[in-house]
């Protein structure tokens, strides 16, 4: 039993080391790598941004609008009873911009793109395509992992900003039409509540989440060995690990900004 726990712990440590190495390598390679191969890697990066960012816009829009409506509905059911309508802005900033915006964008990306990344790389590994890339003298980390990690980070960064804007506007749909709160009052309330720290915290989280999702999903995708049954197994692990790590990092960033 003790041995089993020890082995599991060591495996987790090895995985964490692999994930952190992938993320760090991606950033350094993106910033400092030579121009060789940048053109080919850029194509992978653009595809990743398109797939993770642009193609996710419809589902992100719907979820953002609905979330905004839900939060405003809940808030407006209690705030008027305590005379606190003016706090609607603070609630939207705290809940949507600081917390749920980055989290929801990340969760949607894990479900859409994270699984696709892990499964695609896993299938490339099974079909020896990764080996073929190595045989061509191309580092798979540079060609396959770096553009995916950076692409996912950029996409989540933009999606988070988009999610927050749409969610806040979606909230007004109810605040405006359901409770007769004017847009001026609603917007003023939000502008009074928001400050630069909220925006930095939100976008910083989104960047971390992008790095985590990209690194975790690529790591698990490339961890696939020889059996095709490993692809769904590693994809599931990629989802669970990504979810776990983004909640941990979310908590850490929130705490740091709380004490600043």
């Amino acid at each position: 039993m003790l041995r089993y726990i020890g082995e599991k712990f060591l495996t987790s440590l090895r995985d964490l080391n692999g994930i952190i190495s992938s993320a760090v390598y991606s950033i350094s390679s993106f910033l400092f790598s030579s121009k060789h191969g940048r053109r080919a890697a850029s194509r992978v990066l653009y595809k990743q941004v398109y797939f993770t960012g642009i193609e996710a816009l419809p589902i992100i829009s719907w979820i953002a609008i609905l979330l905004g409506i839900i939060i405003v509905t809940e808030a407006m059911s209690i705030l008027p009873q305590i005379g606190g309508e003016r706090f609607i802005g603070k609630i939207m900033v705290w809940v949507v911009i600081r917390e749920l915006g980055p989290l929801f964008a990340a969760i949607i990306v894990i479900a859409r793109s994270g699984t696709a990344m892990a499964a695609e790389l896993g299938s490339m590994k099974i079909n020896n395509e990764v080996m073929a890339i190595e045989a061509m003298g191309i580092d798979p980390q540079v060609y396959l992992v770096v553009p995916r990690v950076i692409g996912a980070s950029l996409a989540i960064f933009i999606l988070t900003f988009y999610f927050e804007v749409i969610s806040v506007l979606g909230g007004y749909l109810l605040a405006g039409f359901g409770t007769r709160m004017s847009f001026h009052v609603y917007a003023s309330s939000i502008l009074e509540a928001i400050n630069i720290t909220d925006i930095i915290a939100s976008l910083l989280k989104s960047l971390f989440f992008g790095l985590i999702i990209g690194a975790v999903c690529c790591y698990h995708g490339l961890k696939v060995g020889r059996s095709i049954t490993e692809i769904p197994q590693e994809t599931t692990k990629a989802v669970i690990t990504s979810l776990f790590l983004i909640f941990v990092v979310d908590g850490m960033v929130t705490m740091i900004f709380f004490f600043i």
């Binding site: 060789h36 191969g37 053109r39 080919a40 695609e120 299938s123 490339m124 079909n127 020896n128 395509e129 080996m131 073929a132 890339i133 190595e134 045989a135 061509m136 003298g137 191309i138 580092d139 060609y143």
Partner: protein, 233 residues
């Protein structure tokens, strides 16, 4: 002639604990066209993977262009591999890249060509290997022979000093086989120092292919084959 590939006291035990090679010594020089014969499962592909550093020897050393590949950095190994062309048994084209992009990929990494020059070269190579399909289609649906032709174009793209063909002639009919032999001959002759290594399952598969040396895998070693027909100086 200098040795481009040198294998010294190579022993390889695979992950299942089976000894595949024991004390193998061999050297392949520039300008040579060598054949390696070995039955199914004898370890031809494993040997080639060991030679280019995709597998690590259990014991012994492998020198590529005079450098011990077990003692160099990862980036140096990738740099050395940029002088190698490898046509795999199963082609191993990159499934999410279009046919033409499979050829341009090594060119982006290992040449200084401009974008349009890269595409021009890729299209020329596809033409040389006789590819007649849509260059902007994904390669998944292509027949095995066509995939191998594309893989050959990909390997030829960077004008490698060492060209390795792993059981390339399987699945070809006589005409396709002859076309491929001519291509390999022409490509080998195009660069005087080029080393070509071709693997076959059986000795009768290579009777019409001129080679300067024939080796066979026997008793976990690489030994000269008793084969004279078709040998060229």
């Amino acid at each position: 002639m200098s040795a481009l590939i040198e294998i010294k006291d190579l022993t390889y035990i695979n992950e299942n604990g089976d000894c595949i090679f024991s004390d193998v010594d061999a050297a392949f020089s520039s300008g040579e066209k060598a054949a390696i014969i070995g039955g199914g499962g004898s370890g031809k592909t494993t040997l080639l993977k060991l030679v280019i550093g995709l597998l690590k020897p259990t014991d012994g050393s492998i020198y590529l262009f005079g450098e011990d590949i077990s003692k160099i950095s990862r980036s140096r190994l990738y740099s050395i591999r940029s002088r190698l062309g490898f046509v795999f048994e199963n082609a191993m084209l990159i499934s999410n890249l279009k046919v033409v992009e499979n050829i341009t990929l090594p060119l982006y990494y290992h040449t200084e060509y401009l974008e349009d020059e890269i595409f021009k070269r890729a299209l020329t190579l596809l033409d040389i290997v006789g590819y007649e399909g849509d260059v902007w289609s994904l390669p998944g649906h292509l027949p095995a022979q066509t995939k191998k032709a594309v893989a050959l174009a990909r390997a030829m793209a960077i004008e490698p000093d060492i060209m390795i063909y792993d059981k390339i002639f399987e699945e070809f009919d006589d005409a396709q086989r002859q076309g491929m032999i001519n291509l390999i001959d022409k490509f080998h002759a195009a660069k005087k120092e080029r080393l070509s290594v071709i693997t076959f399952d059986r000795i009768d598969e290579m009777t019409d292919i001129p080679c300067s040396r024939v080796l066979k895998i026997e008793n976990k070693r690489l030994v000269p084959a008793d084969f004279k027909q078709g040998l060229v100086e």
